[in-house]
Every structure is written in C-alpha cells, then in structure tokens.
C-alpha cells in the first residue's frame, strides 16, 4: 500500500477554490492544506485505533496470557505458582475426561449440524416459493431464536425429563419405553442437539433463503422447461449454487458448536451445579474448562484446555476454509458455464 495519494493531492489543488493570489491567502491556504494533509494521514489511524486498542486488551492479551497461565502451576486460590513447562498440557492430553469432552462436543456438533442443515434447506426451499403471507411464515420460522439458550435449556430440560417430560409422555402413547435422556450418552446428546437445533434452525433457514434468492431465477425456469422436477432442480441447481453459504453455515455452526455451554450445564444440575451428567455423559469441552477452573480450581490445567480447544477450532476452521475454497471455485466455474449454456439455449429457444 502506498501513502502517496495522487488523487487527494489533485483534490487539494482543485480549481474549485479560486482565490486572489495574495500572499496572505496563499499562506492560509498552505496551512489549511497541510492541516488537511495531517487530517488525511492521521484520521484513518484514529478511526481504527479504538478498535485495535480495545481488541488488544480484551481479545489478544487474554489469549497470550492464557498461554502463560497454562505453563504454570496456578491454583484458583493461591494464584501463580511454579513454572511447569508443558506439564499441564501433558496432563490434559492424558486425561480421559478431556477426550470424553471432545468426543461429546463433536458428537453433539454432528447431531446438531447435519439435521439442522437438512431441515433448514428444505424449509428455505419452501420459503423460496411464491408463498402467501411471506413475512408471517418467515417470522414464525424464526420465533425460537428469541428464546435465550438459558431459557431453552430450562424448557427442554423439562421437555426431556425422564419421568414426566413431554417427550417420554408422547412416545409412551405409541408404546415406546421412556428414554433415559440424561443417563444414556447418545440420548443425552440428541436432547442437547435438539435444544441447539430448535433455536438455530429458523435462523439458518433465513440465511439459506437469502442465498437461494440470489440464484438466478432463469436457471430454474430453463431447467423446468427442460423437464426437471422440483426435487431434481433442488439437487442439481439450488444446492450447488448456494454451496458457499452452506459451508459458511457449517463453519459458524462449528465455531458455535465447539463452545456449547449453557445447555449441557443446565440439563442436569444435580452434580456440582452441573458438570454435564452424573458420569459426564454430555460434558462439553467448554463445560469441562469451567469445571476445571471454577469447580476444581486448577487454572493451569484449565488454561491448557482453553488453548487446546483454540487449536482445535483453528484446525477445523482451516480445514473448512480449504474445502470451501476449493468447492466454491470449482462450483462457481461449473455453474456459470452451465448457466451460460442454459441461458443461451433458453434464450435461443424463445427467440
């Protein structure tokens, strides 16, 4: 980036300021010119400074300092202790509860992302049609989004109560035995994923809907004329065209999914105020981080967990990014070629 600003200089000398060429005026103009030059040069930095200063303090510093804490023996009450190198990392990596929490997190993440995406795609393609009362439908779909995760957790903890919850009552009607929603590992993951899905499906539906509306309508029309049915068009036109958005939804769901906290903490509060089930059936990594720091009071190990989770998020983010980039570029090329062909054929046909 260069800091010579030719256009700006030109603007300063613009003929829009006709003035008598007396000495006074020239000095004034020069002073104004240099002031404005300072204004030009300094302003951008002044505008970004608040962000960067605050971000350095509240975002970067904690991240670095977490590393410092993770390299020390650091009990909650006594504070900074001896430097222990990577010992905390070694302990955490050898800790079955850590791996348990990673497994739970990934499992809940898969159970919440895949069905959510599938349902959101279907809903979005329905909403993409000529519906009557469009806004009404969209608002209704989005409704659960206004319920905060804590309230969602309170509601669904009761919905999934093992002895007298809504779900077990309903499945009892068709003769299914009560499911142990809190004790059974998979069932508990389904329950928690349901909370996440319930709140976020409508939201992602709207994002996918926005992407679908950006797909050239002519593509659909020409395909329809070619005799492609709705399902066919959905898979061969809609999905490929919105793939970057789909991937974006997956990425955000990943980052969100790796940080689930309120739902598992509040799903079962009978143990230590909520550590994710009596046997950590649904303890996520952030919940384990919380337990380590504020229940067991071991900041050193908790900081190591935080860093490992951070690395995991970065790794998954990079993989996502690489995949999405490749897919996106391949797809765009293919689609636009196909689109052009279709359009040409279509227009040729009608003309």
């Amino acid at each position: 980036m260069t800091d010579t600003l030719p256009r700006t200089a030109a603007a300063g000398d613009a003929p829009g300021t006709p003035s008598p060429a007396d000495a006074n005026g020239r000095t004034r103009r020069r002073r104004r010119w240099s002031l404005s030059r300072l204004d030009m040069a300094a302003s951008p930095y002044l505008y970004i400074a608040p962000f960067f200063v605050l971000f350095a303090v509240t975002g970067l510093f904690p991240l670095v300092y977490t590393l410092v804490v993770s390299l020390h023996d650091w009990p909650l009450l006594q504070g900074q202790g001896d430097f222990v190198g990577l010992e905390n990392f070694a302990t955490v990596l050898g800790d079955r509860f850590f791996w348990n929490s990673i497994g739970n997190t990934l499992s809940i993440f898969l159970l919440s992302t895949i069905p959510q995406l599938a349902v959101a795609l279907v809903l979005a393609s329905i909403l993409d049609q000529h519906l009557k009362a469009r806004t009404f439908w969209r608002m209704s779909v989005l409704l659960p989004y206004v319920v905060t995760p804590v309230a969602v957790a309170l509601i669904f903890t009761n919905v999934f109560n093992e002895q007298s919850g809504l779900v077990n009552n309903l499945i009892g009607l068709v003769g299914i035995d009560p499911i142990q929603w809190k004790n059974d590992v998979l069932a508990s993951h389904v329950a928690i994923a349901t909370m996440v899905n319930w709140r976020w499906t409508g939201y992602n539906t709207l994002i996918l809907l926005a992407a679908m509306q950006a797909v050239p309508r002519d593509l659909h029309e020409s395909a329809a004329i070619d005799g492609a049915g709705a399902a066919r068009r959905f898979f061969s036109i809609t999905i490929p065209s919105i793939r970057p958005t789909v991937i974006f939804v997956i990425i955000t769901a990943t980052i969100g999914g790796l940080q689930i906290f309120a739902e598992p903490r509040l799903f079962d509060v009978s143990n230590a105020g909520g550590i994710g089930g009596s046997q950590r059936q649904f303890q996520t990594t952030v919940l384990y981080l919380w337990e380590m720091a504020f229940f067991r009071g071991d900041f050193g190990r908790a900081a190591a967990i935080a860093w490992l989770l951070f690395l995991l998020i970065v790794a998954i983010g990079l993989v996502n990014f690489a995949i999405s980039r490749r897919i996106a570029s391949v797809e765009t090329a293919r689609i636009s070629r196909r689109a052009q062909r279709r359009l040409a054929a279509h227009q040729g046909g009608t003309r």
């Binding site: 951008p44 608040p50 971000f55 510093f61 509601i155 919905v159 002519d218 659909h220 952030v286």
Partner: protein, 300 residues
C-alpha cells in the same frame, strides 16, 4: 462472547435482482408455485417448534403435575401466581435492568467503533491497511470464551468482579463488527461522494458524519440488533464474574433450576417471563430482524 457468528457471506449474483423482479411479476414461475404440501410441511414445522414454548406457558400456568400431562394445551390460572413466585425467588427486575444496561452499552460501543474502523478500512487509504484487515478477518474466529481465565485474573486485579463493568468491557469491540461494517460500506458509498466532501473542504471527521454515517445506518441497525442479542444471551462469562446478588437475566434465570426443591411451574414461568421482553421486541421489529439476517447474508 457470542455463541455463533451471525451473518453469512453470500455473493449476490449480478442477475439476481432483475431475476427476482421478474419473478415477483409472476410471469413464468409456473413450476415454483407452492402446493398444499409446502404449506402443510411449513405449518407442521412451525406448530411443532412453537409448541415447546406454548407448553412452557401451559405448565407455567399450572402446577408441577401439569408437566406430567401428555399433551397439555389449555393454560391454567396460576401464571400470575407463579410469576410472582419467580419475582420472589430471583431479583428479576434488577437482573432485567442489568441485562439491558450491559447489552445497550456493548451495542453502542460495538456499533460505534465498528463503524469508525469499518469506514476507515472501506474508504480511506493508509499504510498497512491490507495487513490490518487480514488481521481483523483472521481474529474473527477466536472465541472470546477461551480468554476467561486471564480475564478473570485481570478483573480480580482491578477489583471489578461482581460489577457490570466486568461483563461489559471484554466485549466492547468485536472483529466481526468491523469486518461487517467494512463489507457493507465498501459497496454502498461511492468514492466520488467522499471526494466531493473533501473538495468542499470538509474534514475527515465531518465527512465521516455527513457521508459515512447516514449511508451506514441500515447496517448499523442490523449490527446493533445482533450485538444486542449476543450480549443479551451470554451466560458463561456473567456466570463467572457476577455474583447471584447482582446477576444478569440469564444467570438469575439459571438459578431457578437448581435448589433443594424445584417447582417446575416456577422454573418455566421464569423462562416465559424472561422470554417476554425479546418476544415483544420480536413482534415489533421482527420484519427488521428478518431483513437484517437476510441482508447480512447477502451483503456480508
């Protein structure tokens, strides 16, 4: 400390707007007309997803025994009584006030600083701009939750634990906000407009207020709405740094759930009460929220 970033980058295809117009005209979209199946599916989904909320209200207006009913549909008459017991059990109004203060301050701060920085990145030229922008994008994925331990230590040193400041300060800016405003402003303000202001002798700051801010207003509203939601729903950090005496709505609410005996109609009355403010806001500004999400998706 959001759980999920909020807006998706969708590149609008150049034809889309005209295509959409044509489609609204209703000309050739035969195959796109929705059938009964579409309405039916949509209605089933909406009823299914609204029911847990309604069920909460029904149980909240009944007793613990209501929870055991199979498919209760009719609310009982105990809602106000249960709501009153919620107000006894937790400092509801204090928590509501705290949540509003925290969310409002964070929203104002994030929107202000994001607009300033976003404008600079979008429209001003300065040394290091590209590099710094890449930095902003790279840091978007860093979840602030991971910094809770040092933040806690810092708050302890500052003596801020238990105060609203401890909740507000860590979220005063977000990288996402800057990126979002930059993406919006890059397309929406013509360079000529800034040139013209400069020619008229306006200072940079004046240009910012007379040109950038009016143009940025829709995006500021969207960013504000989502930042408010993010701050409002945050649970982990307030739980750690605030005490039950001075809670936010979320931490106060979570207290209802545990106890030596729990009356579920009260827990759910609390969940319903805490949802009401956002529900009212949603009904009032729902269109805005929807176009916000969808525009965010397109513009981002």
């Amino acid at each position: 400390m959001t759980a999920q970033p909020m807006m998706a980058p969708v590149r609008p295809s150049p034809e889309s707007s005209s295509a959409r117009k044509r489609r609204r005209g209703g000309g050739s979209g035969v195959a796109l007309r929705p059938g009964f199946l579409s309405y039916g599916l949509l209605l089933a989904w909406i009823l299914g997803s609204a029911y847990p909320l309604w069920w909460s209200f029904v149980v909240a207006s009944g007793t613990n025994a209501t929870r055991g009913e199979t498919l209760p549909l009719i609310p009982g008459g105990n809602f106000l009584a249960n709501a009153a017991r919620v107000l006894d059990a937790i400092p509801f109004w204090l928590a509501l006030g705290n949540s509003i203060i925290v969310s409002s301050v964070i929203t104002i701060s994030v929107v202000t600083f994001s607009t300033l920085a976003g404008y600079a990145f979008a429209k001003l030229r300065f040394r290091g701009r590209e590099g710094l922008l890449v930095f902003v994008i790279a840091t978007m994925a860093i979840p602030t939750q991971l910094g809770i331990i040092p933040l806690f230590i810092v708050m302890r040193e500052l003596g801020w634990t238990g105060t609203l400041g401890a909740v507000i300060v860590p979220t005063l800016v977000t990288a996402f906000g800057v990126f979002f405003m930059r993406q919006y402003l890059v397309g929406v303000i013509p360079d000529e407009l800034i040139e013209a202001a400069r020619v008229d002798g306006a200072t940079q700051l004046r240009t910012f207020f007379t040109v950038a801010v009016p143009a940025a207003r829709p995006a500021m509203a969207i960013l504000g709405l989502f930042t408010f939601m993010m701050a409002w729903t945050d649970y982990l950090w307030p739980l750690i740094v605030l005490s039950p005496q001075n809670p936010t709505l979320q931490t106060a609410l979570s207290q209802l759930q545990s106890g030596y005996y729990v009356d579920y109609s009260i827990v759910l009355a609390g969940a319903v009460l805490a949802t009401l403010p956002l529900l009212i806001l949603f009904i009032a500004a729902g269109r805005q929220l929807i176009s916000g999400i969808m525009q965010g998706a397109v513009k981002g």
